[in-house]
């Protein structure tokens, strides 16, 4: 997913098949610096007041934003979940635990037939019993809602009709449920390495079958997790309460606050001010970059910093000149000073030339740097490419000060190396829809990617595979399409499960990263994002548990 964006419906349709389940690998995550949930358990308190960024929806079938997913992690549960602990760098958050299912699934040899059994006595926050058919109905509901997540389920047998006509989806034959026995069987058309990870996304979370097949926000659908959302006023506020019917599930924190009250704002300065004044306890928004120094000096102990599994990069559309030329793409990579781009984010980033973030076990830093800042060389490459003097449209987001500055920086650098730039600053709400439309013919611009799940297919298959180029809602904004790398992505995605996390496979993913970024210069990655967590003085920041993408509100505690 991307920051504050709704992702394409089509992208995940191709998260490729081939690998058997990575159940064995699911246990491989965790490094020496992982935090266990037990340290924060049993420190209950009446109310947590938080400041939150605005979001798109508060319905798990529709929302595709970090702001909602951070709330959902303690509210909506699927059959399986990512472990609730701070991830170690390098190991990633690859471990999956059973959630509403009793255990991880039993499967056949190639992982195309998965069998889950629900835990007994589960109830939603509205008192309804959790049934096996709710899983099937939740997936069907996603189709009916035309959810941005429906592409994730295209490998389920019998989903083709639903995919062709989402609004009229009534059955998926590959999901066989038995409410009496509480069993769920999922049949896949072909093996898919990341399918269990997909089941950890909130598009696969269970909601009661009685939930209307429309955006349900006030209140949002009943939940099977430790909390439920009792009230939501878009862009203004929401309230989260304990689920009175929740029975503790091993590995899932029961939570410390009895109630979470939130106000929503996108004003970073105002957001931080609420915490400084003690009116609120936690700031979900980033700290304002111009006040970082001041806030760090005064509230250093209350601020935590987290590396996210994200990469910020410049896309370069290889279907249109000048970026159909390798030398032009290399010129861009030489022309950008990655440290300057980190400076523009106030220091909240780590420069990178890799596409995969360092949180992945498959990450291998490109050393020595392939494209050190060298404006002279960039100019030469532009001349050699025969594209000097060409007009280049630079796209960026207008309503985010940092994205805007970075876009203007890129335009300035491209002007310096011999192109004439035309800046297109678009509102964030529409930005990715516009650049994801081939008719726009966006040549170069800002983009970022935050993982949906911790496996490299979420990066290379979705963003770098030529098979995943779409006319609209295109996430492969560069239109990357090299025969050899397409083939390698497919090969790696079709390895047997026993080889999914071997040293060789890991090295092969790393080699693919290097080939695409260095040899083909398919993108111009510049930094991995760092985010801030700001707590009020009454909170104990040591309780902060950062799962791979966000803080876990349930595990916060008072001093």
């Amino acid at each position: 997913m991307r920051t504050k964006r709704v992702r394409s419906v089509a992208v995940a349709a191709v998260v490729a098949a081939g690998l058997a389940l990575v159940v064995s690998a699911c246990g491989s995550g965790g490094g020496s610096n992982e935090t266990t949930t037990s340290a924060t358990q049993g420190k209950t308190f009446p109310q947590l007041k938080v400041v939150w960024g605005t979001t798109d929806y508060m319905d798990p079938g529709l929302s595709y934003r970090l702001e909602s997913w951070q709330i959902f992690q303690d509210v909506y549960l699927g059959l399986v979940a990512k472990r609730y602990g701070t991830c170690g760098v390098g190991a990633g958050c690859t471990k999956i635990i059973p959630a509403l299912a009793q255990s991880l699934p039993k499967s056949n040899k190639d992982g195309t037939d998965l069998k889950f059994t629900l835990r007994k006595g589960l109830k939603y926050s509205n008192g309804e019993a959790v049934k096996a058919s709710d899983f099937k109905n939740s997936i069907i509901r996603d189709f009916k809602l035309n959810s941005p997540g429906i592409g994730f389920f295209s490998n389920i047998s019998g989903s083709a009709a639903c995919e062709a006509n989402p609004g009229k989806c009534s059955d998926i034959s590959g999901i066989i449920v038995d409410d009496k026995a509480g069993t769920i069987q999922i049949k896949l058309d072909q093996p898919q390495a990341d399918f269990l990870y997909i089941l950890t996304t909130f598009f696969a979370a269970l909601v009661p079958s009685s939930t209307p097949d429309k955006d349900t926000e006030n209140p949002p659908p009943a939940a099977a997790g430790p909390y439920y959302i009792s009230q939501y006023k878009p862009s203004r506020s929401f309230t989260v309460l304990r689920n009175p019917h929740y029975k503790p599930i091993p590995g899932i924190p029961t939570g410390n606050p009895d109630k979470i009250v939130a106000i929503m704002t996108n004003d970073l300065a105002q957001s931080a001010q609420y915490i400084q004044s003690g009116q609120y306890d936690y700031d979900e928004n980033l700290l304002p970059t111009d006040r970082l120094k001041q806030l760090q000096q005064k509230y250093g102990n209350q601020i935590k910093l987290w590396r996210t599994p994200s990469t910020y990069y410049w896309f370069m559309n290889q279907r249109t000149p000048p970026f159909d030329n390798l030398k032009a793409r290399q010129a861009v990579n030489y022309a950008i000073n990655r440290q300057t781009l980190v400076n523009l984010r106030g220091g909240l980033g780590v420069p990178t030339e890799n596409f995969l973030p360092p949180t992945y076990p498959q990450y291998k830093k490109i050393t020595p740097p392939a494209y050190p800042y060298n404006l002279q060389k960039a100019k030469q490459l532009v001349q050699q490419s025969g594209t000097a003097g060409m007009t280049v449209g630079v796209y960026t987001i207008s309503d985010d000060a940092v994205d805007k500055a970075q876009g203007e920086y890129l335009a300035g650098q491209l002007d310096k190396i011999g192109w004439k730039t035309k800046l297109h600053e678009l509102a964030g709400a529409n930005y990715f829809v516009i650049i994801g439309n081939q008719k726009t013919k966006a040549q170069i611009g800002f983009t970022d990617w935050f993982e949906d799940y911790p496996y490299p297919t979420d990066w290379f298959d979705v963003l770098e595979n030529g098979k995943n180029i779409h006319a609209t809602h295109n996430n492969n904004n560069s239109n990357v399409n090299f025969k050899d790398t397409n083939k390698e992505i497919d090969r790696l995605s079709h390895l047997p499960s026993s080889e999914a996390f071997t040293a060789k496979t890991t090295a092969d993913w790393a080699a693919l990263d290097k080939k695409l970024m260095v040899q083909y210069a398919s993108e111009a990655p510049f930094l991995n994002g760092v985010i801030t967590s700001f707590f009020a003085s009454r909170m104990d920041p040591n309780c902060d548990v950062f799962t791979d993408l966000f803080d876990d509100m349930a595990q916060t505690c008072l001093k």
Partner: protein, 366 residues
């Protein structure tokens, strides 16, 4: 025309002048309304002082290229985010260095960065006299070029608006009937929209792809887009009061006399009526310039006026608002420039109005 010495009742200035000459006094010379207005204006020192300030602002902005070539050595859009300045032998980064370092054992070190250098007041040998912005651009250079853009848009749009308004007001009031009805409804239609909202709507729509119809091709990002948008939205604010004045004049004797002499409609409108509303036009023009500058600033601030990376005082305030806590000068300097310009224009406009017609109550009403 008055004759002399033919009748006791027809005592005129000319008669008085002749009598004065006979009695050995100095001859009384008639003063035109413009000369009288000029004399009144010359005596209004406050208005003249503010006119001087406005002229100073204009001259300074016009000298922006000289400032670049002799002082800052950085163009209006030239970035230098990764650059340095030298001060007393010390190398100072234009943007402070920022980083986050993750150590073993989970330690994290943040060095906040990205803060631009403040005003150097000449210590760096010229560049960054008024500091740098978030992309290492010279604030002084951008302030002057931004002023050029804002003033150019303000003055040009006010001129276009005034010319169009005069034509429409004369046509509506002179011909009346259907012509008046159509033009008046057109005024009402534009008047019905708040200026800034109409400006945003038009500015945003045109800033995406520009305006390409028939022989007119205005590319996106051209200064002509905010200029024409502002000229358009202010038309009724000048057109309506002028129409009212022309309506009051069109049945006066001098118009009837001109008609009797066989003058055509165009001649009556532009040779008889227009000179009689010229003083109002002049006052309205000065007031509309100030309003046009403010509107340009507002539109640019909201992204519907001058397009980045080109500066205007509005875009400079917008760029600076996100770093108001650390670099307040980035917003304050263009804010002060706008205030000085608009206040000076308004005070001078008031002085001009008092000079041309002390009893007039001409003003721009929103």
């Amino acid at each position: 025309m008055a004759t002399t010495g033919t009748s006791q009742e027809e005592f005129t200035l000319d008669t008085a002048s002749e009598l004065a000459a006979e009695e050995g006094g100095s001859k009384i010379e008639g003063k035109s309304p413009w000369a009288l207005a000029g004399r009144r204006l010359r005596r209004n020192y406050v208005a003249l002082a503010f006119l001087g300030i406005f002229i100073l602002v204009v001259v300074l902005c016009m000298l922006a290229p000289l400032y670049v070539s002799h002082v800052s050595h950085l163009g209006q859009d030239d970035q230098n985010a990764g650059g340095f300045i030298h001060e007393n032998g010390k190398k100072i980064p234009i943007l402070s260095h920022g980083s986050t370092k993750f150590g073993s054992g989970g330690s994290v070190t943040l060095t906040p960065g990205g803060i631009p250098i403040g005003p150097q007041w000449g210590a760096s040998g010229g560049p960054y006299f008024l500091g740098a912005d978030g992309l290492g651009r010279d604030v002084g250079t951008r302030l002057l070029f931004g002023g050029r853009n804002s003033l150019q848009i303000g003055l040009t749009s006010a001129a276009i608006c005034t010319i169009l308004s005069i034509i429409l007001a004369l046509l509506a009031a002179y011909f009346g009937g259907a012509c008046d009805w159509i033009i008046s409804r057109f005024f009402d239609l534009i008047w019905a929209f708040p200026v800034i909202l109409l400006g945003i709507a038009l500015g945003t729509a045109l800033s995406i792809d520009g305006f390409h119809h028939g022989p007119i091709n205005i590319p996106a990002g051209s200064l002509w887009i905010p200029t024409l948008v502002i000229a358009f939205v202010f038309i009724p604010y000048i057109g309506r009061p002028l129409r009212g004045q022309v309506l009051a004049l069109r049945n006066r004797e001098f118009v009837e006399a001109s008609t009797a002499q066989g003058a055509g409609s165009l001649r009556i409108m532009f040779s008889e009526l227009l000179p009689n509303i010229a003083s109002s036009v002049l006052v309205l023009f000065t007031l509309i310039v100030a309003n046009a500058i403010l509107t340009e600033v507002g539109l640019s601030f909201l992204g519907a006026g001058v397009q980045p990376p080109h500066p205007s005082w509005g875009t400079m305030i917008a760029d600076g608002q996100d770093v108001l806590a650390s670099d307040p000068w980035l917003s304050l300097l263009p804010g002060i420039a706008i205030t000085i310009t608009v206040v000076s224009l308004n005070v001078f406009g008031d002085g001009l109005r008092d000079a041309l017609d002390p009893r007039a109550k001409v003003r721009i009403e929103h």
